[in-house]
Subunit: 378 residues, 2 copies
Amino acid sequence: MKDSKKQYIRGEINKTGQSSSVGLIIRQKEPNNLETPFDQVDSFLTPMELFYIRSHFPTPKLELASYQLHVDGAVRNPLSLSYNELRDMPSETRVATLECAGNSRVFLIPQAEGAQWELGAVGNAEWTGVPLGALLERAGIEEHACEVVFEGADRGTPKELPIPPGPISYARSLPRDKAMQQEVLIAYQMNGHDLPQDHGYPVRAIVPGHYGMASVKWLTRIYTVREPFRGYWQTSDYGYWDYLDGKPVRRALAEMKLKSEIARPRVYETLAPNQAHTVFGAAWAGETEVTEVAVSIDGGQTWAQAEFLDPIQRHAWRRWKFDWLTPKKPGQYILLARAKDANGNVQPDQHDQNYGSYVINHPLPIEVFVDDLGRPGR
Amino acid sequence: MKDSKKQYIRGEINKTGQSSSVGLIIRQKEPNNLETPFDQVDSFLTPMELFYIRSHFPTPKLELASYQLHVDGAVRNPLSLSYNELRDMPSETRVATLECAGNSRVFLIPQAEGAQWELGAVGNAEWTGVPLGALLERAGIEEHACEVVFEGADRGTPKELPIPPGPISYARSLPRDKAMQQEVLIAYQMNGHDLPQDHGYPVRAIVPGHYGMASVKWLTRIYTVREPFRGYWQTSDYGYWDYLDGKPVRRALAEMKLKSEIARPRVYETLAPNQAHTVFGAAWAGETEVTEVAVSIDGGQTWAQAEFLDPIQRHAWRRWKFDWLTPKKPGQYILLARAKDANGNVQPDQHDQNYGSYVINHPLPIEVFVDDLGRPGR
């Protein structure tokens, strides 16, 4: 762990200068649901110990010695790989931002059910593993297989209606086209270290560009199916209402939507008037690229361009900053950040109700105070 | 209406001999949800005024003069037919049993949410209309169209989770294979009379063999789609948990399951001891035929064959009777009826939890008392 601390040491943007003792925010104690304190984000890669944890059931404890990854279903040669056999296959290392589909839920009015994530159910890490496509080719995926199902070892009785009968394992499917893309990994490392227990040890899926629920942890089985898999976590939960010929139809969440977040200042922070202040944040775009971030310091009336700190790298976030001269006039100000993608799309003004308590990607208002409080300045 | 009363006059099985003044049982006042008093069933065809009514929203009032039926979507020649144009097309008349998927819900333990249907959310009628296949062929259904969506004029905000945003029209789809079968009708008559308001006036779909929710009332649009339609009434509502490779997946209810019901005696009826008593009921089987009905008068310990009153007629129920000599010994007795179909299947012993509060097709216990109450016999 010494190496990891060294590797992901905080950069110049860090306001506090603290390099340790920052932990996660508890959103749920059991199962483990913990959030990154987003105001602490500095580095391009989120340190492992700061990366948000999203679990549906108690963390399963898998043993390396007995671990087997099954690849079967609509394949010609079903596989069963030990952990070492998996690690012996050619691997790739990729950076990918994972965001929980419910990130920023706490901003919804009226309040929605579910974990009250603020800004930190998102992180950017480097993942190492075997491309899923290589496994599927080795197993001889059948021509008519249209989806690939990931199944985890975590198991329990879920709560969203309609509820399936009896306890079930966490499982999600991926369309074949996406599954065969080079970026989809069966990963065993995160930021150069073996996966921690809460991040899916020993093996998890990583689906760059998709919301976090697609990156199934504690992966024990991959199977291909000849019809779309309408499992619990793509119908009752993590489903949304799309339209087919004008009528609502239930679909499974998949690609992350374009989004920017302000990390600093944080909500209700008090800033000195007429001072240089750096607004800092990050933006990501699912299957496309973030090309622009604009910041408003007057609640959306006027906008100014932010400056990127990271280059475009598909599936990874881009940190940005905006040098702000705080107003002379004390008062309450609403900061917003709004991203634009390579296709010319910008974030929507409002939350789209079709997504329920998911996909909260409108610009999130960060209220701050400007007041000198008798201080000599900062 | 004189004709209809004459046509469906009660038969010899009628115990009470009353031929009028029998009405429906209210299960919900608005929208109209009314049940057939199943103990009154006698005739092969359920009289129109005794046929159960299942509505999701307030009854829409459609005018014949302005009525148009649209046939579009994935077709080469979209159609728009007036009521007269539809009636001018070649028609067919078919008998079909319709059962509400929630029929007999009141027998579930613990009590389930929803209308507390007893035995009478089922009926058998003669329907007249244009075969759907003829309309689809006239419209030139595209090769890649896999389903046909029926849309009704009834509209509102449904209640089962997950709830779609805003009010929607009642809509359901049918797989192409079924849609092209001769028996599926776009109907405008029921038992030889124009459809009553509550049964879908002026035009409804009739999908023999499927639960009632498929037979969309107040039909205004038929459209074909190139991908499965995952609308509200086949996912949130009228969905069930099937298994794909051992994992629960959400599917839409469709075919009616094999079922028998005892109409008489009724629950807690008191019968004289050591007397001839005719147990009477009906059985149906969705897409196959009922070939046998057995009756138990001792709660399922022993079974005896019932006698059919109707021949096999695909998609129609078969009434049956069982001549019972009531026990000499007074007491409480549990009557059961269990059907067998042409494939050798029998009704399951228990309600299948995967169907939630739908598909209640286990043999339903009818408790009766045998007691002479000082009567001279019946």
